[in-house]
């Protein structure tokens, strides 16, 4: 971006953000695109709530840097631009991705689509809940008979001499 160009204003930011969210959440089949539902607007509002008004300027600069709203770019170039933000500004991208997904899936249109596909889903599940069959004591009580526990009086010393806990397991967790 050259110095002669001005950072996009708040008035033009929605269009750039709309183009961006449509890259994240394009329309397909019955699924509307993110921008069709206008999720760029709650994204802007939530960014301000979390980080203040000045955060919009930072977002504008990031989107401008990758050429949003992508006028004149073909599909591959648009996707490449989004990948560039993902790589160069991972924290911002992650926020935008999460916020976009959250806004999309709380939209009444999308909620209705999810429910209609046969996976029960409500806009505000807490209000009326979901219908679930009661626990059937006859058929759902475990009959495996497995399980044991040690009584207080039966707790006996175990031999820990072979554990070598003074050593260090350096490869642990997902690195194990």
């Amino acid at each position: 971006m050259t110095d002669t160009k001005q950072t996009m204003t708040n008035a033009t930011l929605p269009a750039a953000l709309a183009a961006f969210v449509d890259q994240l959440l394009p329309g397909k089949g019955d699924w509307p695109s993110g921008a069709t539902l206008g999720i760029q607007h709650p994204l802007m509002e939530r960014l301000v709530t979390q980080s203040g008004e000045t955060a919009l300027e930072g977002l504008s600069q990031s989107l401008e840097k990758i050429g949003a709203p992508f006028n004149g770019l073909d599909a591959d170039a648009r996707a490449a631009a989004v990948r560039r933000l993902e790589t160069e500004e991972p924290d911002r991208f992650q926020w935008l991705q999460t916020a976009a997904y959250q806004a999309y899936y709380e939209n009444p249109t999308v909620v209705a689509l999810i429910d209609a596909r046969g996976t029960p889903y409500k806009l505000r599940p807490h209000v009326q809940g979901y219908n679930l069959p009661k626990f059937d004591l006859e058929t759902q009580t475990p009959k495996h008979g497995r399980g044991h526990w040690t009584r207080t009086a039966d707790v006996k010393p175990v031999d820990t001499s072979g554990l070598n806990l003074e050593t260090e397991t350096t490869k642990w967790g997902l690195q194990r």
């Binding site: 999460t98 997904y101 709380e106 807490h126 526990w149």
Partner: protein
């Protein structure tokens, strides 16, 4: 100082699970009880549950992590490791917890005998077993008695919650592996109970404004207030004061509405400010009750790892109570595994929210952006199941809560610092748990298994620390513990610590049922010995 210098029989600091139970017991006995709570009441309509953007709110202003939501009722806690999960307000962290309700087991109290890498408790499982049952009756706990992996218990006041499809799927997987499983006990009423409606299966199990889940602000506090307890909200305690005889005389606190400093004097002081707030307050009160140097030390979180699996069958994990079943197959020590202590599997349903699921719920596995997003959603939503491995971590005095010597909060109290790193035994256990989680996923026929070890890019273990315990542990020896078996401070005989900081071991379960049972037991001890406790200058071993 002191717009009002009130005096009461019992001053309770903190209105969470243990503060509320204490207030109820002692007020019902006719004692003059005052409870100071730094936060406020939460109106039902304020909960995220009733709003269209509930999923977003759960990640932001209702996030259980104090360092994410930054609510004015909170106090600063800096951690170089753990995610600090709690809620400051009437009812404490029960406003945002999941109310999974398993009990400790007898061996959890006897680790000193078993291997000596943890202390014995000064009390046994049998000492608190009756209080588990009584707390369950107070709260309407749901579940199924008869688990062969646990001591005999009374029938749950409300029956087991619906056996969700994820539970059924996992039960078959555990059967295939030949491992124990049992329907999860829950601090959730499965049917109408004590004026509270039975669970409606909404799946939004972080707090529950309708009251099906046991929020102590809704289930205990109304009774405590009716019995005469006084609850002062927006009252941030600055320090506990003592007299020349070493007894606590009360507390100085800031009225967060008026800004005034006030003092409440009391014959008995109960501290119930959780495993971070309690040691912080004691350390900030001129190192009170700390001749053992154990205040703040031996912080326990549990060893915690997780897995998210996706199965081909539609299991609709977005609906129903969040905990599906529990497996106690590995709860006891077996040194052939290469470590001491055991662990449980807390099996879940899934994220109640499509937004959360696509954003990386539990395992961090996000839906892709772009062309493949909706195909991913079709394949994954309704097919996800979560599992936790939760184990008994060994105490380490360097894992601790301590005061920042350079920084204070807006009220002049040093900021709490928290450090936690798993030890060798814990790391081995987590490796073992991850391998077993993988096996469960395979036994369930999952088409994808994503493990979670809570280590960040730098390798730091950043566990979501709901369980902050051990930082004022009970014991039989004043040189190695902070309180005796009645929660009575060795150094301050009329001061009792009620919250989870007194637990010397973490067991392999969520601690709130045990913390609540212990609080009921200790509160009744105070009630029954109130006259003696108002004059005693010495705490004795139990």
């Amino acid at each position: 100082m002191s717009a009002t210098d009130q005096t009461c029989d019992v001053l309770i600091i903190g209105s969470g699970a243990t503060g509320s139970i204490s207030a109820l017991v002692l007020a019902q006995a006719g004692l003059d009880v005052v409870c100071l709570e730094q936060g406020g009441w939460i109106e039902r309509k304020e909960f995220a549950h009733l709003h269209q953007d509930w999923s977003w709110q759960r990640q932001t202003n209702w996030n259980p992590d104090v360092n994410v939501r930054r609510h004015p009722d909170d106090y600063p806690v800096d951690s170089d490791s753990s995610q600090v999960l709690m809620w400051n307000g009437v009812g404490g962290s029960t406003n945002v917890y999941g109310a999974i309700w398993p009990r400790y087991r007898p061996s959890d109290f006897r680790k000193g005998d078993e291997h000596g890498l943890q202390p014995n408790w000064p009390i046994t499982y049998e000492d608190i077993a009756p209080y588990y049952d009584r707390v369950d009756r107070m709260l309407g706990t749901s579940g199924l008695a008869g688990d062969p992996a646990q001591p005999t218990r009374a029938a749950c006041p409300t029956g087991p919650l619906p056996f969700t499809q994820p539970a059924q799927k996992l039960a078959k997987a555990f059967d295939k592996l030949g491992w124990h499983w049992w329907p999860a006990e829950a601090g959730v009423v499965s049917e109408d109970y004590d004026g509270r409606p039975g669970c409606n299966g909404c799946g939004m199990c972080n707090g529950c404004p309708r009251g099906s889940m046991t929020l102590y602000a809704q289930s205990i506090w109304p009774k405590a207030l009716a019995a005469g307890a006084k609850l002062q909200t927006h009252a941030r305690v600055l320090r506990i004061e003592t007299g020349s005889d070493g007894r606590a005389t009360g507390a100085v606190w800031k009225n967060r509405i008026t800004g005034a400093e006030e003092r409440t004097k009391a014959k008995i002081v109960i501290v119930a400010a959780n495993g971070v707030g309690t040691p912080r307050l004691l350390l900030a009160s001129d190192n009170l009750a700390n001749s053992s140097d154990m205040v703040g030390r031996n912080l326990l979180h549990h060893t915690l790892v997780a897995a998210q699996i996706w199965v081909n069958e539609q299991v609709d994990g977005q609906i129903g109570y969040v905990a599906s079943l529990i497996s106690r197959e590995f709860a006891e020590t077996d040194v052939s595994r290469g470590f001491v202590n055991g662990f449980n599997f807390n099996c879940l349903t899934s994220a109640p929210s499509a937004g959360e699921l696509t954003s990386g719920w539990l395992s961090g596995t996000k839906a892709p952006w772009g062309e493949g997003h909706h195909d991913w959603f079709d394949k994954h939503f309704g097919h996800s199941i979560g599992l936790f491995g939760i184990g008994d971590d060994l105490p380490n005095p360097e894992n601790r809560v301590y005061l920042d010597v350079n920084r204070t909060d807006e009220d002049g109290i040093p900021i709490a610092q928290m450090h936690y790193a798993p030890g060798e035994n814990d790391r081995r256990m987590m490796n073992y748990m991850l391998d077993r989680l993988q096996e469960i996923g395979e036994a369930a026929g999952a088409f994808k298994i994503a493990l979670q070890d809570y280590r960040d890019a730098d390798g730091v273990y950043r566990t979501p620390a709901w369980h902050m315990i051990g930082t004022c542990r009970m014991g039989s020896d004043p040189e190695t513990s902070v309180v005796n078996g009645w929660h009575q401070c060795w150094d301050v005989p009329n001061m009792f610590i009620m919250d989870g900081s007194v637990l010397p071991t973490g067991g392999v379960v969520n601690p709130t049922p045990t913390i609540s049972a212990l609080a009921l037991r200790a509160a009744e001890h105070i009630r029954d010995n109130f006259v003696d406790l108002t004059t005693t200058t010495r705490s004795q071993a139990v």
